[in-house]
């Protein structure tokens, strides 16, 4: 997995609440058996019209935000379907950080498996960053995972909380499966005991 340490980049504002994973990557693009290549269809139905032409008003189609690496979004971002295609599509487009007041549980977890950092901040701070993001390509937001800070383009610094284990894995680009397999004797022991206690499972 890709490491995440620091990132300074353009942030795109998406104030809409309840942005669901169907919006992030509509189902017609879930038929792939690959993880890559979904960025071109990120937010497909908001980004392109029925003829496949760009909708100029959509934020990621605006010149300032075409290379955005950060999203500042409304609350409950990533709700709905568990599809990991949503973080795959965001990452493939180039977005590594999403900042919101809240995330849906499964989406939040999926980000960390893909070298992406979802950041939860209080409403007033998200509002400040949303305004900052609205200033366009010259306003670059800085994220530092080690220090757990987000800094707006005018130097306002906000601290965010993150689970220490998730932080450790992301900073070091660790592979969950390899970490767990290092505990395989604990799994063996549990399985043997559980089979005794609940043989019907």
């Amino acid at each position: 997995m890709d490491k995440f340490t620091t990132l300074t980049g353009v942030a795109a504002p998406m104030p809409l609440v309840n942005i669901d994973t169907d919006m992030i990557i509509p189902k017609q693009f879930l038929k792939t058996i690959l993880r890559s290549g979904l960025g071109k269809n990120l937010f497909d139905e908001m980004r392109f019209d029925d003829n496949g032409n760009e909708i100029p008003d959509f934020v990621l189609n605006q010149p300032a935000y075409r290379n955005a690496q950060i999203l500042v979004a409304g609350g409950n971002f990533g709700c709905g379907s568990s599809r990991e295609h949503a973080p795959w599509a965001l990452a493939d487009f180039g977005i590594r950080v999403v900042i919101s007041t809240s995330f849906a549980d499964i989406f939040y977890g999926n980000c960390f498996k893909n070298g992406m950092l979802p950041i939860v901040l209080p409403q007033d701070q998200v509002d400040i960053l949303m305004d900052d993001a609205g200033k366009g390509a010259n306003a670059r937001i800085a994220v530092d995972l080690e220090a757990q800070t987000v800094t707006s383009s005018d130097g306002q610094e906000f601290h965010f909380d993150i689970d220490p284990f998730k932080k450790h894995c992301l900073l070091n680009g660790l592979d969950d499966i390899a970490l767990t397999l290092a505990k395989v004797s604990a799994i063996d022991t549990f399985e043997a005991q559980a089979t005794q206690a609940r043989p019907w499972v």
């Binding site: 709700c79 977890g109 220490p164 969950d176 767990t180």
Partner: protein
């Protein structure tokens, strides 16, 4: 220390507990479908890993499969076919339990699991699908996971987890006639909002929940995820045990007795701690429909389309956008909304009881001319039972299409889709923009309400129809 049901199941499955609260949780059942698994199996292949417990892994194609009778000749859409073929190959290569597309036991993964007795009380159940919450109806801890986690469970039979908080949702008293499990679960989301359950596992309890059938309880738990909860649970009782007993993969003989003894302990202690409690009165729940593009946009059928300005914060623009997308105006009566299509099916409402409820309304009736209406049973076995009970004929006589099992128009990955602007009365679980097809407009409701809408061609209060003499 007194424990909730969630605490008890959690504690029984902790393999390893790190000091920081990160746990390795053992997974008893892993359900797999074709859309969220190919990258996980590929990951195993590339790392030279095997499936640790193929006997606890159950695969079935459901999202992509066509539901028209010609599917026996193969899937025409190339991408869908490749995905289903990949599941076929992965299931055989890795030796997991498998119900291929033309097996009568094939169906929606969350209907097949309970039906075959794979889902049992006290288990941990996961699937790369958010509606895994369905299995919570059995008193199992069941939730959706992403594809990386699918790979993790395949390789290790465990998940890295942190414990959620406990929420109790109590529905007191009894439901009134015409009110169903779907109305309970939508009404709860109407109260909590779609993010209200985030960080929690919900236990549903109270007289109205106890009075539900197992099918109804599955409908309630299915939509726990739409309220943002990690999982929904209902304590197992006699109804649960009766439902499970005799199913192909349920324990038998002495193992049944041992299992039953443990299952009977699976309930929250009376003085257990709850981080949040919500109580609704069963008799105050009305038949509801959604009017917007989030499951929290729900109101009793007797209501009017709300005004965006009556909301606050980011929701004002959200509602404005939703009404524009849905083609609705504030103040419009919900019962004046005309529909083009009716979809009865999905993991929320594709079980036999749902088909019975819809057929009871449709018996001797015809759908409104020009309307498109389809019933997609949740599994091949539900379909067969419905045919045996004469329900299929009622649907066909009324003018419905009678389809083969699959997810179908709930998420429209197969050919069953809405056209732009087409308005659908649906028994499924999500009314998101584009969910049932680009530009499609979805109103969620119970099977009986969907059947009533099929007859009148508009959103309809089922209670009016029940009052009419037969």
């Amino acid at each position: 220390m007194p424990k909730t049901l969630y605490d008890k199941i959690w504690d029984a499955h902790v393999v390893h507990d790190d000091a920081d609260g990160t746990c390795l949780l053992y997974i008893d059942r892993h359900l797999v479908h074709e859309v969220t698994s190919p990258q996980a199996f590929e990951g195993l292949r590339m790392a030279g890993r095997r499936v640790r417990a193929p006997e606890k892994t159950i695969a079935v194609p459901d999202h992509n499969v066509p539901t028209t009778p010609d599917r026996e000749q193969g899937i025409k859409n190339e991408e869908s076919r490749i995905q289903v073929d990949a599941l076929d190959r992965n299931a055989r290569d890795f030796g997991v339990n498998y119900y291929p597309v033309n097996d009568i036991r094939q169906g929606i993964v969350h209907i097949v699991g309970p039906e075959q007795g794979w889902t049992l009380p006290g288990m941990t159940v996961v699937c790369g699908d958010s509606h895994t919450a369905t299995h919570g109806a059995f008193g199992a801890l069941a939730h959706g996971i992403g594809t990386s986690e699918v790979e993790h469970v395949l390789a290790t039979q465990t998940l890295i987890q942190q414990k959620s908080k406990n929420m109790k949702v109590e529905i007191t008293g009894s439901l009134l006639p015409g009110v169903t499990a779907k109305d309970i679960t939508l009404s709860v989301i109407g109260v909590t909002g779609t993010a209200g359950g985030t960080g929690y596992v919900i236990e549903y309890c109270g007289q109205a929940i106890e009075e539900l059938s197992m099918e109804g309880r599955m409908t309630v738990c299915n939509m726990a995820i739409e309220g943002g909860a990690r999982a929904g649970l209902i304590a197992p009782d006699e109804k649960t045990f009766q439902y499970v007993k005799g199913r192909p993969h349920a324990p038998k003989g002495a193992q049944w007795d041992a299992a039953l003894a443990w299952w009977k302990t699976l309930k929250s202690d009376p003085d257990a701690h709850w981080d949040k409690v919500i109580t609704l009165k069963g008799e105050e729940i009305a038949p509801v429909v959604t009017w917007g593009t989030s499951p929290e946009d729900v109101l009793p059928i007797t209501s009017e389309v709300p005004d965006p300005d009556s909301f606050s914060g980011g929701k004002v623009d959200g509602v404005r956008r939703a009404l524009d997308y849905m083609g609705l105006k504030p103040g419009q009566k919900l019962t004046d909304i005309e529909i083009d299509t009716v979809f009865i099916g999905s993991c929320t409402n594709g079980r036999i009881e749902d088909l019975r409820a819809a057929a009871a309304i449709l018996k001797g009736q015809k759908i409104k001319p020009g309307l498109r209406a389809m019933v997609v049973p949740g599994s091949g076995l539900v379909r067969a039972q419905a045919e045996e009970e004469g329900l299929a004929q009622i649907f066909l006589d009324a003018g419905f299409e009678w389809r083969l099992a699959g997810c179908s128009m709930c998420l429209a990955m197969n050919p069953d889709q809405l056209s732009p602007g087409e308005r659908c009365a649906a028994t499924s679980n999500r009314n998101f923009e584009g969910r049932q097809g680009r530009g499609g407009r979805t109103h969620l409701m119970s099977p009986a309400m969907a059947a009533a809408a099929a007859i009148t061609g508009r959103l309809t209060d089922i209670r009016e129809m029940m009052a009419q003499p037969a």
